[in-house]
Symmetry: C2
Subunit: 137 residues, 2 copies
DNA sequence: TTTAAATACTACTTGTAGGTGGTAAATAAT
DNA sequence: ATTATTTACCACCTACAAGTAGTATTTAAA
């Protein structure tokens, strides 16, 4: 019952770039600031770029920044690009053959929590996350 | 963001035995009824027995049943025996060095959901789970 | 006493998230 | 042009959850 670590990495770097728009940041700079393994962050950046969240400039002095055409980025977009949204669209366990009439043992307790989690994933965007904290990252 | 599959196995078999108290069930019988791999269920049963939830009778005609001294079994006990309770006692990400003043990017949204999840894990017991459904299992 | 059916235990296999390392290609500074 | 710094890409490694296989041990029925 936890988010994937890679998802937190992705959100961390996206929040960072969101709050530093207009400047290019290389993986080398960011991995120190955000405390994420260098090479692994490189792969995450590649994924996030492929998902359309970022603009890249290759070569010396290059780096990443938020895609200027993005006026909002919701958590579900990022989570979807990294670990998928199955847990929120279906359920934690995700048995394909289940329903209210044919539930697994966790259905009752989960169906109480599902809406809140779904709401937080679908209705929170990067602005909401970054504003409230003075992130060290 | 999902429970471990083994946790669902454990809850499934515990609910089943809870609702069939006073009779011994072998792994061979249960794995067919509950649709859990035979050998894997055997290991889960061994773990659950070690945690004190079950009484065992070895040998022919043997099997498992709920420990008669248990008048209630809460979900946190079972989850704790299988995958641990770190996610509920600490948080989804569980960084040791975090706090409200030093949060990770997910702290805000998670701290909205944490109480509800914690409540469901700590205040729901097997009676609550089994009563509501006509489980095929 | 023999046999069948059960748990107990150990080792192995598989799939995947997380992480490491090396190199090719791009590109700005020199 | 050369060099340094960067992304892009590919192959591999590691840890762990999930699942498989086989055997020793226990025990009741026959
Ligand atoms: S029965 Fe409910 S909790 Fe179980 S897998 Fe289906 S939707 Fe999820
Ligand atoms: S900062 Fe909050 S969400 Fe992040 S690891 Fe700590 S308690 Fe969890």
């Amino acid at each position: 019952m936890r988010f994937q670590k890679t998802t937190e990495y992705a959100l961390r770097v996206m929040v960072f770039l969101w709050n530093h728009q207009g400047e290019l940041y290389s993986v080398n700079r960011m991995h120190k600031i955000l405390n994420i393994p260098y090479k692994y962050l490189g792969r995450v950046m590649h994924t996030l770029t492929g998902a359309g969240f970022l603009e890249v400039q290759q070569g010396k002095m290059g780096g990443y920044q938020i895609n200027a055409q993005k006026s909002q980025i919701y958590l579900y977009e990022i989570i979807g690009a990294i670990e998928g949204l199955d847990s929120y669209e279906r359920c934690v366990l995700g048995f394909p053959e289940c329903s209210d009439e044919n539930p697994c043992t966790l259905h009752k307790i989960w169906s109480n929590q599902q809406p809140g989690l779904k709401d937080m994933v679908y209705n929170v965007c990067l602005n909401d996350l970054g504003a409230e904290y003075n992130l060290k990252y």
